[in-house]
Symmetry: C2
C-alpha cells in the first residue's frame, strides 16, 4: 500500500502521445453513443433483445480490432470475451468491465438517458457513460494504439452484463471456462476517483446484501376511519422494524452479532485514509448531498471504506399520489440493503437478520436479493508499481491506495476462480454520478485512461514484471 519504487524507465512512447490519443476522439464518441443506445438495464427481466444486441455489438467491435471474440451464454445475461493474442506472449492480462447499466427512471433526467448527448468540454451524458461503457471503450482504443508497439502480451477483455445485479451467474461462467480464461492478472476499470485530479486505486471493496422485507395484513385498501385502531398497518410496522434494525440518524446497526466479523482499522490505516487526499467538501458537492452525518474526514473515510451500513432504498405500498388518501394499505415492501466489510459474509449476516426479524416481527417475510462478498487484498508489488507509473503517465498524479465503498461482486468471484492478482484502474469521478440521474463521462478521463492503460500494458509486457 506504500508507494513503490518505479520499476520502469520512461520510454519514448510516441504512439501514446496526447495528439495521437486525441485523434481517436471521434471514434470514441461514436462508439459510446452507440453503446449507450442499448438500454442494458440488467434489472429489467424483459431486456433480452437489448442485452443480445449489446453483446453482439461488443463482440463485433472486439473482432474489428483484431480479437478472437465470443459471446458466452449463461443462466442469465451473456458475457462477452475477446482475446488479443500475441505469438510471443509470455503473459496474459484480463481487463474487466461491464456493459449493463442501472435503471434510469429518475424524474430528474434532463434528456433521454439512452440517447447520449455531447456537451461543451467533452462531457458525455447518458446512462452507462461512466458506469461502465465509457471506461470499457477507452480500454479497447488503448489496445488499438498498442498494436504499433507489438507488445508480447495477450490481452483479454471480459465484458459482463450482470454487474449491476450482483453478477449472479458470473462465477459459474468463470468456473466453467476456467482454463480458457487463465490469466496472470486482472485489471478492473469500474471504480471512482477520490476527486478530479486525485486518482484512487482501491485495494478493497465493500460487499453487499440486498433484502426485501414484506408484510401483508389484508387483501385490499381499507378506510382508515372505519378500521383504524384495530387493523394492522404494514407500512407502520415496517417503519418500526427498520428503526429496530438501525438508528437511521447515526447509522448504527442493532442486529445482534452484526459487527462480530468486522476487521477493525488500526491507527496507521486511519492515517492512510485521511492522508489519501479525500476532501470532505468535494465529496459532499460531487454527490449532491445537502447534509451529512459527519464532516470529519477521519470518520468519513472510515465510515465509507471500512464500516458496514444499512440503507433503505424504498418503501412500496399504500398511497403515493398527491395529498393524502386515508387508507390502511393491505401490504408493504421495504427495499433495503447492507454494505459489508472484511471479514463479514453476506450469508452469515442474512442469517442474523432473519433471526432478528423472526424475533421482532415474525410475520415479516425476508427475501434475500444479491449477495456480494467484500474484497480486500494487498496488491502485488510489481503490478502496483506499474499502475503508479501508468497513472502518472496518463494523468500526472499518483493513485491513492484507498478502499472503495461500493461493491463489485465479480471481483471476489475472479479472485476465487482465476487465482491471480486483481488491480483497479478506475476512470470515473464522483461528479459523474454513478447510479444517479444525468450520469456522465468526459473526454479528459477517457483520453487520460487510454494513455494510462497503454502505459500499464507496456509495463506488463516488459521484462521487469
Amino acid at each position: 500500500m506504500s508507494p513503490h519504487a518505479d520499476p520502469l524507465t520512461t520510454d519514448d512512447l510516441d504512439w501514446l502521445a496526447p495528439a495521437v490519443v486525441d485523434a481517436l476522439r471521434p471514434t470514441f464518441e461514436a462508439w459510446l453513443a452507440e453503446a449507450v443506445a442499448f438500454p442494458t438495464v440488467s434489472l429489467d427481466a424483459s431486456a433480452g433483445p437489448e442485452m443480445e444486441g449489446m453483446a453482439r455489438w461488443a463482440a463485433e467491435r472486439l473482432r474489428a480490432e483484431g480479437a478472437e471474440a465470443e459471446v458466452f451464454e449463461t443462466a442469465g445475461w451473456p458475457v462477452v470475451v475477446g482475446t488479443f493474442r500475441h505469438p510471443r506472449a509470455t503473459r496474459t492480462v484480463t481487463l474487466y468491465h461491464h456493459l449493463d447499466v442501472q435503471p434510469a427512471n429518475e424524474p430528474e433526467w434532463r434528456s433521454d438517458p439512452f440517447r447520449m448527448t455531447i456537451e461543451p468540454g467533452g462531457v458525455y451524458r447518458g446512462r452507462g457513460t461512466t458506469d461502465d461503457k465509457g471506461p470499457a471503450l477507452a480500454a479497447l482504443l488503448a489496445v488499438r494504439l498498442l498494436k504499433a508497439a507489438d507488445l508480447p502480451l495477450n490481452i483479454r477483455f471480459v465484458w459482463e452484463l450482470e454487474e449491476e445485479i450482483g453478477s449472479p451467474n458470473f462465477e459459474a461462467f468463470l468456473a466453467e471456462h476456467r482454463e480458457r480464461l487463465a490469466t496472470d492478472s486482472v485489471l478492473v476499470s469500474d471504480t471512482v476517483w477520490l476527486s478530479a485530479g486525485k486518482p484512487a486505486a482501491p485495494v478493497g471493496l465493500r460487499g453487499m446484501l440486498g433484502v426485501r422485507l414484506l408484510l401483508e395484513t389484508g387483501t385490499r385498501d381499507a378506510h382508515s376511519g372505519l378500521v383504524g385502531g384495530v387493523a394492522r398497518n404494514p407500512l407502520g410496522e415496517l417503519c418500526q422494524l427498520i428503526s429496530e434494525i438501525y438508528e437511521a440518524r447515526t447509522g448504527q446497526i442493532r442486529i445482534p452479532g452484526f459487527h462480530d466479523e468486522v476487521r477493525p482499522l488500526d491507527d496507521e490505516q486511519r492515517e492512510q485514509f485521511v492522508a489519501s487526499g479525500f476532501d470532505a467538501g468535494r465529496f459532499q458537492a460531487a454527490h449532491g448531498l445537502t447534509c451529512l452525518r459527519t464532516h470529519d474526514p477521519r470518520e468519513m473515510t472510515e465510515r465509507l471504506w471500512a464500516r458496514p451500513t444499512f440503507e433503505v432504498h424504498g418503501l412500496v405500498g399504500g398511497y403515493m399520489g398527491p395529498g393524502l388518501k386515508a387508507i390502511v394499505p393491505p401490504r408493504a415492501e421495504a427495499k433495503v440493503s447492507m454494505r459489508l466489510v472484511p471479514d463479514q459474509h453476506p450469508e452469515t449476516i442474512l442469517e442474523r437478520l432473519r433471526a432478528f426479524v423472526a424475533e421482532r416481527a415474525p410475520d415479516v417475510r425476508v427475501e434475500a436479493g444479491g449477495m456480494l462478498e467484500p474484497f480486500l487484498d494487498e496488491p502485488n508489488e510489481e503490478l502496483a508499481g506499474a499502475l503508479r507509473v501508468a497513472m502518472r503517465f496518463g494523468f500526472g498524479a499518483d493513485p491513492a491506495w484507498v478502499r472503495e465503498g461500493a461493491s463489485i461482486g465479480a471481483v471476489v468471484q475472479m479472485q476465487r476462480q482465476l487465482g491471480c492478482p486483481i488491480l483497479f484502474l478506475g476512470l470515473s469521478l464522483p461528479e459523474h454520478g454513478y447510479h444517479a440521474p444525468n450520469e456522465c463521462f468526459d473526454w479528459h478521463m477517457a483520453s487520460g485512461g487510454i494513455r494510462a492503460l497503454g502505459r500499464y500494458l507496456v509495463a506488463l509486457a516488459g521484462p521487469e514484471i
Copy 2:
C-alpha cells in the same frame, strides 16, 4: 341513546310500498351510472370540468323533481343546493350528501371505476356508488315519492363536492348563506352499518388530522456504496421518526400530551358498544383484513369508536420498481394521519406533533393537511324516535346508537353554523368498500333507504315532532 317510545302510528303508506319503490329501480340505476361517470376526485386539482359537470347534472336532477336548485361557487369546488318548498310547511329538514369521491388508482380494480357495472343481485360497482352518490340519489327518489303525500315540510338537499378532502370551504359557504340555509334539523347519509342487517345510527364521529412529513438531505439519488455511512437517508430517518411517534404493532401513540383531552369511556358506554351487535368476524371479513391487533369485541369497538389513532398511508421517495436499486434517495415524504376523538382538537394535536418532531427530527418539515373536528352529540329524542321507526320501516331492524370511526368534517361545521340537531341515516355496508377498490352499492340498501327516508320525512312533517 336508549330506545325511544315510538311517537308515530303506523300509517298506511301505500306510496312507499315495496312494489312502488321497486318501480324506481331503472331510474335509480340510470342516474347512478350517470353520476359515477363523472370522476369527481376532489383531491385532483385538475378535476374542474368533472366537478362542474357533476354540479350542473345534480342541479338539473333536483330541478326536474321540482326543487329550486342552485350551484354555489366556493373558494374550492362548488356546493349544490336544492330546496323543495311546501306552502304550508312549518319545518325544514336538510339532507346532506356529497358527490365527490376518493381517487380510484388502486391496481385491484377489476373494471373501469368510473363506468358503473351492474352485477347479478342488483350490485352496483364503481367509485362513489356507496360513498356517497348512491345514498344521495336514493334520497332524491324518496322525495319524488313523497309528492303523493303532500307533506307540509320543506326539504333541502345540500350536496357537497369537497367531503373527501375534509370540507375545507364548506364552513365558509354555510356561514355566508346561513339565513338561506336555516333548517330545523339535518340528516346525514354518509355512514356505514355495523354489518348487513345491523343498521347503525352513529351519535359520534372521529375527527382527523392529516399531515405530510418531509425530509430532504440531497439533490439527487446517490450511490449507496459510494456515500453509504456518511450520507443521511431521508427514508430511514422518516421510518425512525414514525416509530418514535407511535408503536405500530399496538398503535400506542407516544407524542407527549396527545391523549390529554381524550374523553374516557365509562363502563356503560363500553357495554353499549359491545351490545350494539358489532361482530368481530364480520368486521374483519368485510374490510378484507387477514390479521388484527385484537379480536376482543370490547377492545375493538373502543379502539374503533372512542380512541385516537396514528396511521401511515404511504412513504414516497427512493426506488419503487422491481428488485432493488441501491441508492440513497435525496428526499422522502411520509403521508400520515391521526383520527381524533372527543375532546381532542386537530389544532392542539398539530402543535404537539410539531413540538415532538422539532425535538426529535428538527430537519423534518410538518405540512398539515385536512383538519376535522371529532363529533359527539346526544341525539334529539323525538328525531331519534323517528329515525328508529324509519329504519324499522325500511329495513325491519332498529338502528344501533353507536359511534363511527370515520370522519365527516362537514358535520361539525353544520353543527356550528346551523345550530340544530344532526342525525345519521347511513345506507352503506362494510363490504361496500368505502375508499377501497371495487367499491359497490346495492339495490337492497337503496330501496330500503328510499322507504326509510320516506318514513322519516313523514314523521318530521307530522304533529308529533
